[in-house]
């Protein structure tokens, strides 16, 4: 059932590739705007790069949250899922992972290319990719709570950013911090371990919280 959920969501995403591409291009455009606004000074860009890439990843991941439940909610599939004997938390976990595969993974793959634009050293590119690989699933998992709470509300898109962005802050701090530490020549394992810890904690708690939010939103 869990795998079915992921497969189904991926299939739906593949049928509508423009959605996936829009998120990815949003990410690319936001990152490309910064050199245009602050100037092409390479030293400055290099120090800014981790933060810029991470903030853009946060925004891109957040913008696509609305799609996580809303289509299923509109056509009634979500209610059937609530009624199914399967644990709702598992289904939500499946949906969050599918969301990550559709929006998070393309960002992770694209990040090194954008890092080159910012003249990051090769090692920092690896650290950036690793940090994003660990961190983006956390964004999808926490985002699932916000998406579930704002389901079917007017102005849900803006509201979800108010709810979710403050909760993204720890991931942002350590995600960007890992790359900065690497560039400063300090060890970055502590940062990655902490993001890993966030991932484990949110894997356990976020699906559960999102499932109860869905019950609240649909009752």
């Amino acid at each position: 059932m869990f795998m079915w959920m992921i497969k189904r969501d991926l299939l739906l995403a593949m049928r509508r590739q423009s959605d996936v591409l829009t998120t990815l291009f949003f990410f690319i455009i936001v990152v490309s705007l910064f050199p245009l606004s602050v100037g092409p000074e390479m030293n400055m860009l290099r120090t800014m790069a981790p933060g810029v890439v991470w903030v853009a990843a946060l925004l891109a991941s957040m913008l696509s949250l609305g799609r996580m439940f809303s289509n299923d909610y509109l056509d009634g599939t979500l209610e059937q899922m609530l009624l199914s004997p399967q644990s709702l938390s598992f289904l939500v976990l499946g949906k969050a992972l599918a969301h990550w595969l559709v929006t998070g993974v393309p960002l992770v793959l694209m990040a090194p290319v954008l890092g080159i634009q910012y003249d990051l050293p090769v090692e920092a590119l690896f650290v950036l990719t690793a940090a994003l690989l660990l961190g983006t699933p956390v964004l999808s998992l926490i985002g699932a709570i916000g998406a579930a709470l704002t389901l079917g509300l007017r102005g849900g898109g803006v509201l979800v950013s108010l709810l979710v962005l403050p909760l993204y802050i720890p991931v942002l701090i350590f995600g960007a911090g890992a790359v900065e530490a690497n560039m400063a020549g300090v060890g970055f394992d502590a940062h990655l371990s902490l993001i890993g810890a966030f991932l484990l904690v949110s894997l356990v708690f976020a699906p559960w919280a999102a499932a109860s939010s869905l019950r609240v939103s649909l009752e």
């Binding site: 909760l167 720890p170 701090i173 939010s213 609240v216 939103s217």
Partner: protein, 247 residues
């Protein structure tokens, strides 16, 4: 005699109890406020390092404490409301949020006013300032979520979930910000090494803390009463109040 512990969990009996309690808390708050301000402005000595400007501490510290404390209280009542489906607990949580946000805002504002003469800047990305700012965002998120939902029961429960998620996150955010700050080695100033305080300063501050406590209780009870009236407007007892004209 068995005591009915849950008598006041009914909105109707809580309404009248709160009505009786509000004047008491307002009175105590006013007395404490007058005493605290008197001690703060006339009794407490001038600080030898910070001069007179330090006196903002009598507003700033109580506001900062209340802002954090009220978030936990709010999440507690919201959680009780979610777990036991008690209407009054959720109403109380909703009533606490604006007061908590106000204290957070006061703490940020007075902190900036204090920072300017002391550190020469309105704002530093110090761990405490940053986490206070994020706390403000959490309050705003809670209130705007509740405001966006029309059905009050759904608003209560959704608010409870986001408040509880926030409470779990507060320590994580706080330590992240603190480690981030030490990693950056940025803030050259810190509030941590406050000089040992004169005892009158401490007394004045504690009186002001109690005063803001009493004020919060009074305002929150008042707001709860209004929420009760709004939500129970269809019931017989509210109609009776209206007829008597005692609202």
């Amino acid at each position: 005699m068995a005591i009915n512990w849950f008598k006041y969990s009914s909105p109707a009996s809580f309404y009248s109890l709160a009505g009786k309690m509000i004047p008491i808390f307002v009175f105590v708050a006013l007395i404490l406020l007058a005493a605290g301000l008197y001690v703060g402005f006339f009794v407490a000595p001038t600080d030898f390092q910070q001069g007179e400007a330090y006196r903002i501490i009598f507003i700033h510290v109580p506001a900062a404490w209340m802002s954090m404390f009220l978030y936990v209280v709010m999440a507690f009542w919201a959680g009780i409301g979610l777990a036991f489906n008690t209407r009054l607990s959720s109403m109380l949580a909703t009533a606490i949020a604006p007061t908590g946000a106000m204290f957070t805002f006061i703490a940020l504002w007075t902190g900036a006013l204090w920072g300017k003469p002391m550190w020469g800047t309105w704002w530093v990305w110090d761990a405490r300032l940053t986490s206070e700012l994020i706390l403000f965002f959490l309050y705003i998120g809670f209130m705007s979520l509740q405001a966006a939902i029309d059905d009050p029961r759904r608003a209560d429960k959704a608010g409870a979930i986001i408040a509880l998620v926030g409470v779990v996150n507060i320590p994580i955010i706080y330590f992240s910000v603190q480690w981030w700050n030490t990693l950056h080695q940025g803030a050259s100033v810190s509030i941590n090494q406050a000089p040992a305080m004169a005892s009158t300063m401490l007394t004045g501050m504690l009186i002001m803390v109690l005063a803001s406590w009493m004020y919060s209780i009074a305002v929150i009870l008042k707001r709860t009463r209004i929420i009760i009236l709004e939500r129970e407007s269809h019931t017989a007892w509210v109609a009776e109040l209206q007829k008597k004209g005692v609202m």
